[in-house]
């Protein structure tokens, strides 16, 4: 975290100063390890064993938070007796189909009392008035699961969990992860001691967890651990996904993903009959819990996109949405290009010539396109695919357009980062030349497309013609649209008066509201204030509890509804009282004129009448916006036949889940098992010590020419390799390897190896070496350091090699691209590749293929041939200062005068 998120790490250091213990688990000893209280080395890709080991330690020693686990998780739910786990089936779960390499999840389900159908269009809807959808909209709903509150039933989730993780002992952790068991036990003990009523612990992770063939299950393991320790929905707890770039959280919220619509609504698919919004809802709806409101969000989205053309009569133009009719995930795009099925591509702010997996394969695939548009701030690697190593530009028929993009200070906009907080940034200077913002590009592209199609009478062109695509222009001299209008659309507004809605609770499914992304609703106040631009920090100590605790609720806007901690109902006990004074966040405050509360046991006896009427009057209050219906008493019983939130009791904090509780065991939603299970990485030098099954049985592999996996246990590729970032560079180097001040700090591609491996390969510190596997060769220099260590895995010595992945063939500092060594594979749930654990061989000397030509660099650090290459882009980094000279040519939209801007900062007195 200190390496890749140094600014966020400020708060970790501050916590450490106040007594927090920092535990760091990483294959190499990093800047984070240097400041941590406990460091543990681990073999890349074995996190499930490490976390499973802690889970087992906590279960065996009864260190879990009993009241939390019993009330807020599905620990007491009983599972179908046909369920079989990996300990019985050699590493597989029941329901595995060997032929299709897929699971049937039938046996993973709960043992339910009764089955029932929940009609969409029931009582709650008639209250809201007339609906466009008459008739049956029924979502699947099963009755409440059988429960055993003593947690002793062998078919209870708790006992299944205990049995499943029982083989993840400290000895197993040492054998599989290579982590000395004493250190492992110290970590387990520290974590358990720091959780409970009075204390909480947080787990931070980044792509070291996710980029594995078991990536989703690694995060699941962390979630199970945090649920057992009572660390979810409470201040100081949680699982924090440290996001890799600015606003990468934002780009999943308002997604750049092929299978999602804004706000995590599913993209309609051809795989099920989905030609009407009713059928779409039917397939994707959860009748119980907050997702019950989903119809309002999809209808409001359609209204935001198609405006007056989306009416109840035409099913809100639902048929305009494209339907997924195949696999369009990231890797598939490149196969489609290679096979000539994909003709054109926009590449915007992405440099997969360095950052892509099997980067060479992806660069070569671009050469098969008809056209390609690359937008970036520098002429980065990906734009040069047509003269990539070994390519004769004459043989590449792709027409390539380089479009200059503006930098962050050259445009306004928002970031949504790790904590789901939207933070606004203002524009400081005009961008150079024809460089423009993404909004400008997309808006004017859309505008021109509508112009092109305006006379078409074809039905298929209606979605373009009818798209609501009007933005006021804020800057006549650049043609930049006014983002206030975009924020308003995302926030949502009422159709009638065009006023922003107060939040997603105000959205309707009758077409009277529009909203571009329901989870962001509330970012604009009804009087038009953009709350993302709020910058009022709290002084320390204004809140209660820990004297330093404060929520900074007037700084930016955190979705949903400016809630800083999700599921914060869990910060209070089932009766609505804070678990402890020290960790209070939100709690139930009864109205003063009401009688004393009866407690849960008493209210549990009351049978469901109208479940929405609380037994006790009062409201949820506290330092955060309660993540719960504001006046729903903790003593409200669940209505087993109720819809939406009424189906949840007043002590079910996980409102987005169908049953309102945290899932220790996940009957649905995962392709590779209801519980995390260790499988070896697809490329691993050792056999799976935990189960007979070696790899994730449902992993999607793409063995094809140019993208082969190393043969299993090939002695030519004996080392475990992992990639990472350095503080000094940013991802593919597109923003750092072009800046002299950053380039000089980490100027060359290197790999970190242990002195032991150096001795074995005859390498000395600083020597040139080559990493090889079936995908190719990468030359680099070695940094021999005692921060790396060989591990003893199941009696076998395993070397780990770590290397940053920032380098490519363009920029001030250049080097081979390590991602060329990684195969494109797909984790079965979210299709992430396995970049953090693969195998390779290491040999002394440079690679045999001639090294790539590097750019001539003059003595003052200027790269010689920058300006012209980027077409219109004339941004030059001279001594790191952006010397911006406007282009003489008038821009396409709106003629601005060609003034000259010099952003030179303070010159050194009299030096030049």
């Amino acid at each position: 975290m200190a390496e890749c998120h140094p600014v966020a790490y400020r708060f970790v250091m501050e916590a450490k100063e106040r007594g927090a213990k920092i535990i760091h688990v990483d294959p190499r000893f990093t800047r984070t390890s240097a400041t941590a209280n406990i460091y543990a080395p681990v073999r890349a890709g074995t996190d499930i064993v490490f976390l499973g080991g802690i889970i087992n330690y906590i279960l065996q020693n009864e260190l879990y938070f009993k009241d939390y686990v019993l009330n807020y998780t599905n620990a007491s739910f009983l599972v179908n007796e046909d369920f079989r786990g990996p300990d019985q089936l050699g590493g597989l779960f029941s329901g595995y189909d060997e032929k299709d390499q897929k699971y049937d999840r039938k046996t993973w389900q709960y043992d339910v009392e009764d089955e029932q159908q929940q009609a969409y269009g029931g009582k709650h809807r008639s209250e809201e008035g007339e609906s466009h959808s008459q008739g049956a909209m029924s979502g699947k709903r099963v009755g409440p699961p059988k429960q055993d509150l003593s947690l002793q039933d062998p078919w209870s989730v708790f006992q299944i969990l205990k049995k499943h993780f029982s083989r993840y002992t400290p000895e197993m952790v040492e054998q599989v992860c290579g982590t000395p068991s004493e250190i492992f036990i110290e970590i387990a003990r520290t974590l358990a001691a720091n959780s409970g009523r009075d204390k909480t612990s947080a787990i931070c992770y980044a792509v070291g967890f996710t980029q594995h063939s078991t990536g989703v299950q690694m995060i699941r393991a962390a979630a199970i651990l945090q649920l057992l320790l009572g660390n979810i929905g409470r201040p100081g707890g949680g699982i924090l996904a440290l996001r890799g770039h600015a606003t990468i959280q934002g780009s999943t919220d308002v997604p750049t993903l092929y299978n999602l619509l804004p706000g995590y609504l599913q993209m309609p698919s051809e795989s099920y009959d989905c030609d009407t919004v009713v059928k779409y809802v039917q397939m994707n709806w959860t009748p119980t819990g907050w997702w019950h409101n989903m119809p309002k969000y999809i209808v409001s989205l359609l209204k935001a996109w198609y405006g007056p053309h989306a009416t109840a009569a035409n099913d809100f133009a639902f048929h305009y949405l494209p339907k997924i009719n195949g696999d369009y995930s990231y890797n598939q795009m490149f196969y489609a290009m290679n096979e000539g099925r994909l003709k054109g591509l926009f590449v915007m702010g992405e440099n997969f010539g360095v950052g892509g997996i099997n980067a060479r394969y992806q660069m070569e695939a671009l050469q098969k396109l008809d056209w390609c548009v690359v937008r970036d701030i520098f002429p980065v690697e990906v734009g040069d695919f047509w003269k990539y190593e070994g390519t004769d530009p004459k043989s590449c028929g792709t027409e390539t357009f380089l479009m200059p993009a503006s930098l962050v200070a050259e445009k306004e906009g928002s970031f949504t980062n790790t904590m789901r907080m939207l933070q606004w940034h203002d524009k400081a200077v005009d961008p150079p030349g024809d460089a423009r913002s993404e909004t400008w590009f997309m808006y004017h592209l859309g505008r021109r497309m509508q112009e092109l199609y305006k006379d078409s009478t074809l039905e298929r062109d209606k979605p373009i013609q009818h798209l609501l695509w009007e933005l006021p222009i804020k800057e006549p001299h650049t043609g930049e649209p006014d983002l206030h209008a975009v924020v308003k659309e995302i926030n949502g507004y009422t159709i009638e008066d065009g006023k922003p809605v107060a939040g997603f609770a105000a959205l309707k499914d009758d077409g009277s509201t529009a909203c571009g992304c329901w989870i962001y609703s509330g970012v604009m106040s009804p009087d038009g204030i953009n709350k993302a631009a709020n910058r009022q920090a709290d002084p320390y100590g204004i809140n209660f509890g820990d004297p330093g605790f404060t929520n900074h609720s007037n700084w930016g806007f955190a979705w949903p509804a400016n809630r800083r901690i999700l599921y914060n109902r869990a910060s209070a006990d089932p009766d609505g009282k804070p678990w402890s004074e020290r960790k209070k966040l939100v709690w139930w405050q009864e109205d003063e004129n009401e009688g004393a509360s009866g407690g849960l046991n008493q209210s549990a006896g009351e049978q469901h009448g109208d479940a929405t009427t609380p037994n006790h009057k009062g409201k949820w209050v506290g330092a955060d916006v309660p993540d719960f219906p504001a006046d729903k008493s903790p003593f409200t019983p669940a209505d087993p036949h109720g819809a939406g939130m009424a189906a949840h009791s007043g002590h079910a904090p996980f409102i987005m889940m169908a049953d309102g509780v945290g899932q220790l065991f996940a009957p649905n939603g995962l392709a590779d098992g209801p519980l995390p299970t260790h499988y070896e990485a697809l490329e691993s030098p050792v056999h799976n010590p935990v189960y007979k099954q070696e790899n994730n049985p449902v992993e999607i592999r793409h063995n094809r020419e140019g993208n082969m996996l190393n043969p299993p246990f090939d002695p030519a590729y004996p080392h475990v390799v992992t990639t990472y970032r350095l503080t000094e560079h940013h991802t593919s180097g597109a923003m750092s390897r072009w800046v002299p001040w950053l380039s000089e700090l980490q100027p060359e591609q290197f790999a970190e190896i242990s002195p032991d491996l150096a001795a074995e390969t005859g390498l000395e510190n600083g020597d040139w070496a080559t990493l090889t596997n079936v995908r190719g060769e990468v030359e680099l220099r070695v940094l021999v350091t005692t921060r790396m260590t060989p591990l003893l895995i199941n009696g076998q010595k395993v070397h780990q090699i770590g290397m940053p992945y920032h380098f490519g063939f363009k920029g001030i500092v250049t080097g081979d691209t390590p991602n060329n060594l990684i195969a494109m594979t797909e984790e079965p749930n979210v299709r992430i590749h396995e970049a953090k654990s693969f195998t390779a061989g290491l040999r002394k000397g440079r690679r045999t293929v001639p090294p790539l030509p590097t750019k001539p660099v003059s003595s003052d650090g200027m790269v010689q041939d920058r300006g012209g290459e980027a077409g219109q882009l004339n941004r030059e980094v001279k001594l790191g200062v952006v010397d911006v000279t406007r282009h003489e040519n008038p821009p396409v939209d709106g003629g601005f005068t060609h003034n000259v801007i010099e952003a030179t900062g303070q010159g050194r007195a009299g030096s030049e």
Binding site: A2, R10, T32, A34, R787, G880
Partner: protein, 294 residues
């Protein structure tokens, strides 16, 4: 009012934001693009165009300290080839507790420290400057006036810390100005402003010293007894440093002199010794010639 830096190495995370902020504000060029192999330190040292430098020092647990740029420590410190435990693989984990372990990196501490001009009370460079280019400004900082400096270079060997240097293509001497220009506008220096963990703090020297002493007492109370202040409350020839440090290893580990001394204080002694040697040699040669002639 005298101002200065208090650099607390126990808070440094080695992000080098200070280096970049300094170069950006002061418009200093990059020094070149070569990997040094010295841990993550590719800057090497302070110089005419590098006024902040973050040093990275890897201190293995098995040895007191690994000399910089040494490729490989003795093979005894790693598991043997057969995968068994090597005899004597006694290492310390980072809490300093002894443990016998396999598969734990042989790293005791990874020290990081942001070095800078110390702005000494008795500044060697200032004393040596023949043109009066180096002055003590109103903020108590030692400042090289670039319009007066003639590039004689006398200041360079006079600095006991090796801070000030001549710019090769310019000829004049440059070093940290303690952001004289920013201070004049009431702004804190760029490095302190950029530091995400407040390892570098800027302020009134008396305040800083008070806070630094408190910090050492706090760390000692926590059991981190290796913490001490460098450049404050010490008897050295350079006097108190306006940019002082809280260190957790001996000064040499960071490349700092144990007790900084001024070269000019050795001049008289040096001359006397030189004259004495010359005199003795003259007498000897005179005697030798005399004997030959006689």
């Amino acid at each position: 009012m005298a101002t200065g830096f208090f650099t607390d190495t126990t808070l440094c995370i080695g992000c080098k934001a200070c280096e970049v902020a300094c170069k950006q504000w002061n418009q200093l060029p990059a020094d070149g693009y070569a990997m040094t192999g010295m841990s993550y330190d590719n800057t090497g040292a302070l110089g005419a165009t590098t006024w902040r430098h973050v040093a990275f020092i890897e201190v293995p647990a098995s040895k007191k300290r690994l000399p910089m740029a040494t490729p490989a420590p003795p093979p005894a410190a790693v598991p043997s080839a057969d995968g068994g435990n090597t005899e004597g693989l006694k290492i310390l984990n980072i809490n300093g507790e002894a443990a016998l372990q396999v598969g734990f990196p042989d790293i005791g501490q990874w020290l990081m420290m942001s070095d800078v001009c110390k702005h000494c009370t008795n500044a060697g460079c200032l004393q040596a400057c023949p043109t009066g280019a180096i002055i003590r400004n109103e903020f108590g900082a030692v400042y090289v006036q670039p319009d007066i400096c003639n590039g004689c270079g006398y200041c360079v060997p006079s600095c006991p810390f090796g801070v000030v240097a001549l710019q090769h293509d310019d000829g004049r001497a440059f070093k940290c100005t303690l952001c004289y220009d920013r201070q004049k506008d009431g702004l804190e220096p760029a490095c302190a402003k950029a530091c995400p963990t407040d390892s570098i703090t800027f302020g009134d020297l008396d305040d800083l010293k008070m806070r630094a002493r408190q910090r050492v007492a706090e760390l000692h109370a926590r059991g981190e007894t290796s913490a001490y202040l460098y450049g404050v409350d010490e008897e050295t020839e350079v006097g108190d440093l306006n940019a002082f440090f809280l260190l957790k290893a001996e000064p040499e580990a960071y490349g700092l002199p144990v007790a900084a001394s001024l070269p000019q204080n050795r001049v008289t002694k040096g001359f006397v010794a030189g004259f004495a040697v010359a005199a003795v040699l003259s007498v000897f040669s005179a005697l030798a010639f005399k004997r030959k002639h006689s």
